[in-house]
């Protein structure tokens, strides 16, 4: 039984080291002077089809972009809970099924409310 | 076959409506005074039997003594065409009335003539250089333009 947790630990270890190496690789290569590093002010400025940017981009956007992101996060979190449930469908039986239906019900009520408020139309 | 209307015929028609505005008229084209260009053009565009609703091209030619601006007009319905010219004197600040209000196709053409030849068009909504950059000295297509390259 305990061995199973060992596998998870191994998996975590591999994930952690993979993340660290990918993050540190550019800096080490630059330190070893394999990859050239020549910063200059024009290089670090934003690229906009070869022109200098006009005005500022930190402007007040329409709310609907933010709302879509919000809606996505809610539904995505829901999906995260469905995965473990879907894997163990047999063992959980009818009790697990009812639990998931209730979970989905909460989210769908909010979704229908947003739908009826016509917030999803892309004005 | 696009019939090229003779300048004389149109000049006769225009003479009594716009007295004194026709400078000369020959078989192939019609030269009008700069001041009366706009109302002659609107007459040519609106009168039903002429109905020049399609401005094919505007060109400016530098003849040292004067600038000649050539308007090629076409009528899609009657399928006939006419060449109307104006002479524009003065080399430092030549100006002509703009025909953008009649044909929007003249918008970029007039800006190009201003950019390369230096003729200003009064009444043009966006009279600035189209190809060259602000601060370019001189007008390249003039005959006396020294090549600054």
């Amino acid at each position: 039984m305990l061995a199973d947790y060992g596998l998870i630990a191994l998996f975590l270890l591999v994930a952690f080291f993979f993340a660290i190496t990918t993050l540190l690789l550019p800096t080490t290569l630059r330190f070893l002077r394999i990859v050239p590093k020549k910063p200059n002010p024009v290089k670090t400025s934003t690229y906009e089809c070869g022109m200098q940017t006009i005005g500022k981009a930190w402007v007040q956007f329409n709310f609907r972009y933010y709302f879509y992101a919000l809606l996505f996060v809610i539904l995505d979190v829901l999906v995260v809970f469905l995965y473990p449930w879907a894997v163990e469908l047999r063992q959980l039986g009818i009790f697990g099924f009812i639990g998931v239906v209730v979970l989905i019900l909460f989210v769908v009520v909010g979704y229908i409310y947003a739908w009826r408020k016509k917030v999803l139309e892309w004005k | 076959m696009t019939v090229a209307l003779s300048g004389k015929e149109i000049a006769a028609k225009l003479q009594q409506r716009f007295p004194g505005s026709i400078v000369e008229s020959s078989e192939s084209n019609l030269v009008v005074k700069g001041e009366s260009l706009l109302d002659i053009a609107s007459f040519l565009k609106t009168s039903p039997d002429l109905d020049f609703d399609y401005l094919t091209a505007i060109t400016a030619v530098d003849y040292y003594a004067y600038f000649e601006v050539v308007y090629q007009l076409t009528s899609i319905k009657h399928n006939h065409s006419l060449v109307v010219k104006t002479h524009c004197y003065g080399r430092d600040n030549p100006a002509l009335p703009s025909v953008v209000s009649l044909w929007r196709g003249a918008d970029f053409q007039e800006r190009e003539i201003y950019d390369l030849m230096g003729i200003r068009f009064d009444g043009h909504p966006n009279m600035k250089r189209i190809f060259l950059w602000e601060g370019f000295k001189g007008y390249p297509l003039r005959k006396d333009f020294s090549n600054g390259n």
Binding site: Q60 | Y54, G105, W133
Partner: protein, 367 residues
């Protein structure tokens, strides 16, 4: 209550994958919707008209090639016919027919790139473009066989064409002409009823009939708005009055109509080439013209139906070896006049499609 939003300015600038060259749009966006757009030209302004005044008439033929560098055969034809009209140079029959065949082949090649680039902007990244480039390579092989160059042909001279077509040209042309309708049907099946293309281009960027005439648009852009005007029919030049072909015109004038008109025009061009091949007379292809041609004093405006629209040359000659004035009536510059009206109110992605459906070449816009 409407939430206050601020517009911001973005450069769809000179170096952009979908501006078909170096054209720049200073667009003011409110979120994703285009609020305003200012076109900026001049990034490829090479001063061709000034250079042409310093060179002899024959030296200007290569200059005319580089105006609309996707369809340089029709540039040659327009310039050469204008000078022939000015200097009254007769052109033998066989040369006229060869010019018609070359011009129609060039029209197919140009529409292939126009439709391919338009679909590239619609999001079908590179697939239709590479399909259509396969056909364009076949047409380029034919041009290569005739005049040795792949892109800028410099093939036509005053009074005819520079050299006669080799023997293996006609069989190769026959195979291309027989297989071309099959390829065009292949594109049509793939694209005409494709929901994505319909959804993205039906009703997008509508150019009304009156506005199209008012901005003196020409070519597929004008015909897509419902105006039946094609210089080959309205003012037949060369031997175009001996062929019968029809002019496809759209109804609404949206991006889909412009796409549809170009596909139909390719079919008509194949029809014309077939008729021209049948009626091709024999005989020499070039009348002798002095190298330093000095046309009589006077001016001329010769225009043809180039693939992008009415391409005209306004020449003024003062009986010297160099033209006094050499002006090009570029169809692409006129077709762009209403771009601002067609683009406002649409999203940024639709603005790219509207611009792509107009099909311009910057060499001809900026000269």
């Amino acid at each position: 209550m409407a939430i206050k939003t601020e517009p911001f300015v973005i450069n769809i600038g000179p170096q952009h994958p979908s501006t078909h060259g170096v054209f720049r749009m200073r667009t003011t966006l409110d979120g994703e919707v285009v609020v305003d757009m200012e076109p900026v030209f001049g990034y490829l302004h090479r001063g061709v008209e000034k250079l042409a005044e310093g060179r002899s008439y024959k030296q200007n033929i290569p200059l005319s090639d580089r105006l609309d560098y996707i369809s340089s055969m029709t540039n040659n034809q327009a310039y050469v016919m204008a000078v022939e009209k000015l200097a009254e140079i007769p052109v033998p029959e066989r040369a006229e027919y060869i010019r018609v065949i070359m011009a129609e082949l060039q029209r197919i090649a140009n529409h292939l790139i126009a439709v391919g680039a338009f679909l590239n902007d619609c999001g079908a990244f590179m697939t239709p473009f590479l399909y259509m480039f396969r056909e364009r390579e076949k047409i380029i092989d034919l041009f290569d066989m005739v005049c040795g160059q792949r892109l800028l042909y410099n093939y036509m001279r005053f009074g005819g064409v520079s050299q006669d077509i080799p023997e293996e040209f006609l069989p190769a042309l026959k195979t291309l002409v027989n297989s071309m309708p099959g390829f065009i049907d292949e594109y049509d099946q793939l694209l005409a009823q494709n929901e994505i293309l319909l959804a993205r281009s039906k009703g997008v960027g509508i150019l009304s009939k009156e506005l199209a005439i008012n901005i003196s648009a020409s070519g597929p852009v004008l015909r897509a708005s419902g105006v039946k005007r094609d210089i080959r029919k309205v003012d037949p030049y060369s031997v175009y009055d001996r062929f019968e072909f029809d002019i496809p015109t759209g109804t609404v004038g949206d991006a889909y109509d412009r796409y549809w008109v170009r596909i139909q025009e390719m079919r008509q061009s194949v029809r014309i080439i077939k008729q021209a091949m049948k009626q091709l007379p024999s005989g020499e292809v070039l009348t002798e013209v002095p190298l330093r041609l000095r046309p009589p004093v006077g001016e001329v405006y010769g225009h043809i139906e180039a693939p992008k629209g009415e391409l005209g040359f306004y020449l003024v000659s003062d009986n010297s070896a160099n033209p006094y004035r050499w002006h090009v009536r570029a169809p692409s510059l006129f077709n762009l006049t209403a771009l601002r009206d067609m683009v406002i109110g649409w999203k940024l992605a639709d603005a790219i499609i509207i611009f792509g459906s107009i099909d311009i070449t910057m060499g001809e816009v900026d000269r």
